[in-house]
Assembly symmetry: C2
Homo-oligomer: 295 residues x 2
């Protein structure tokens, strides 16, 4: 079971990385500096969670993984841009990401702003390599990605996060931030993969529920790990939330309650997949893997 998941993940990552390498401008293309920076950020050894969800969602809906590759790469590019900008000195001011110096530490702050901009724009360039299907046009997919990335979701979540520093937030506030900052893009990753596979509306609806619960559970686990793990284990600065006085699940609900809430949401996520047969087994295993990290 464990080893078949490992094989699945390994194969999916290599498919995504090969597709990404083909989509991204070469370092040799002018201006080489920005293309080098983009590739530094994209090929930094991330877990590729979001694109893997896209591929597995396409499979769950009876499609082929390869049809979901443009969508998969697009969501990963959007995720990567958001990390590059969130790490900037004027935002979270982080020096370390995925165990390596952050973009602005290597290329300077101005270039990191431009690199993030370029990765965000590239997400739309790459998404347009998707094929229109009977139920969903490329335009529909662009609507999905742009609304997810916009000021009401991904960017709005980062704004609420920044504005919440040093304040005591309620559980409702936290849920709102996590929905916008984390669950929205995980859900869009699933939905875009499913749209690439011409998913039926009820399949899309089930994946939306799954993504929402999975996203919230995943963020709670992340918050817990920030408290309980070391910088070395995480590949990013541990204990960061406490330093900037950020309200998190553990700080608001305590560790025990946070673990219970993560378990409840995990069950909710798994339940949402009940309409699928064994074609969703990869998705089930991936969810298990995402949520059963040591915490």
């Amino acid at each position: 079971m464990k080893s078949s998941l490992d094989d699945y993940l390994k194969k999916a990552v290599s498919q995504v990385d090969a597709a990404m390498d083909g989509f991204l401008p070469l370092k040799e293309e002018r201006p080489g500096s920005i293309h080098e920076a983009m590739r530094y950020c994209v090929f930094a050894g991330g877990k590729r969670l979001r694109p893997i969800l896209s591929l597995a969602a396409a499979e769950a809906c009876g499609g082929k993984r390869k049809h979901a590759l443009p969508a998969a790469c697009a969501v990963e590019l959007m995720h990567t841009y958001s990390l590059v900008h969130d790490d900037l000195p004027s935002m979270d001011n982080d020096d370390l990401r995925r165990g390596r110096p952050t973009c602005h530490k290597v290329y300077g702050e101005g270039m990191a702003v431009l690199c993030g901009d370029a990765l965000l724009t590239e997400a739309f360039i790459v998404l347009c390599h998707a094929k229109s299907r009977k139920r969903y046009s490329v335009g529909d997919m662009v609507v999905e990605l742009s609304l997810t990335g916009g000021s009401r979701k991904l960017i709005g979540g980062q704004v609420l996060d920044l504005e919440g520093e040093g304040k005591k937030l309620s559980k409702d506030d936290l849920v709102r931030i996590h929905e916008a900052k984390t669950a929205a893009l995980l859900t869009a990753s699933l939905r875009l993969g499913a749209m690439s596979a011409n998913a039926k509306p009820r399949q899309l609806a089930a994946l939306t529920k799954f993504g929402h619960a999975l996203g919230l559970a995943f963020q709670i686990v992340d918050d817990i790990l920030d408290v309980t793990q070391t910088t070395e284990n995480l590949g990013k600065t541990a204990g960061k939330d406490q330093i900037v006085e950020k309200s998190t699940y553990p700080s608001v609900l305590g560790l025990d309650e946070s673990r219970k809430e993560a378990a409840r949401l995990t069950a909710e996520a798994m339940g949402a997949l009940d309409i699928f047969g064994e074609e969703a087994d990869p998705l089930r295993k991936i969810a298990g893997w995402m949520l059963e990290r040591e915490y």
Copy 2:
């Protein structure tokens, strides 16, 4: 002649502003801070050159102006985002834009990064309000806008610009920067307006030539104005190019040669419109107005 152009511009600006007001999230939508910042940057009294070009291009191709409004607002949003990020302390470090304090002076640097990100993402949200036409799908329009905004064009131009500071550039280098930084988005503004009007391929080709020459001429005029005008007249910091030792047409070719080059490109631009009849008269007048500023 002059007054009919004034009327045309006034009406086009008010159409674009009303559409933009309808597209952008309200300040009342959460998080209000980012939506306030977005509206501060968009409604800052810009000339709306790019969206006006979209509307006039749609008309030149026999379409209605209102069909080009999503494309027009999308290019203006992309232009506005690029100004917000270019003005950041880590880039051009400018305090003044369109006669008002820049975004980061009012809302802080982190918020200005996020505001630019949100405006860029919003450009794609808004563009998806365009209708697919017989010859062009919404997906085709997204390809046009994303390639124009990407690392090979708009962002690449800003990279070359930053990397060129303090260096003596050749005329070819300058042309390459201006093509990427200025001409590409002006051309895309025209093309997206034309695509919204289901333009014939030869109309699209003519507008592409027009946009390229117009864009280069426009940038030369801008460089000349930076030398010859005051900050008060420009609404942005004058003499900025000299301070950061930026190579410009006047510094590379001298003022006289620069004026001659602008005139040559203006003639080239006007010639490209010869395939159109009087339906392109607004476009001709707008080009005259853009290039015959006092310089």
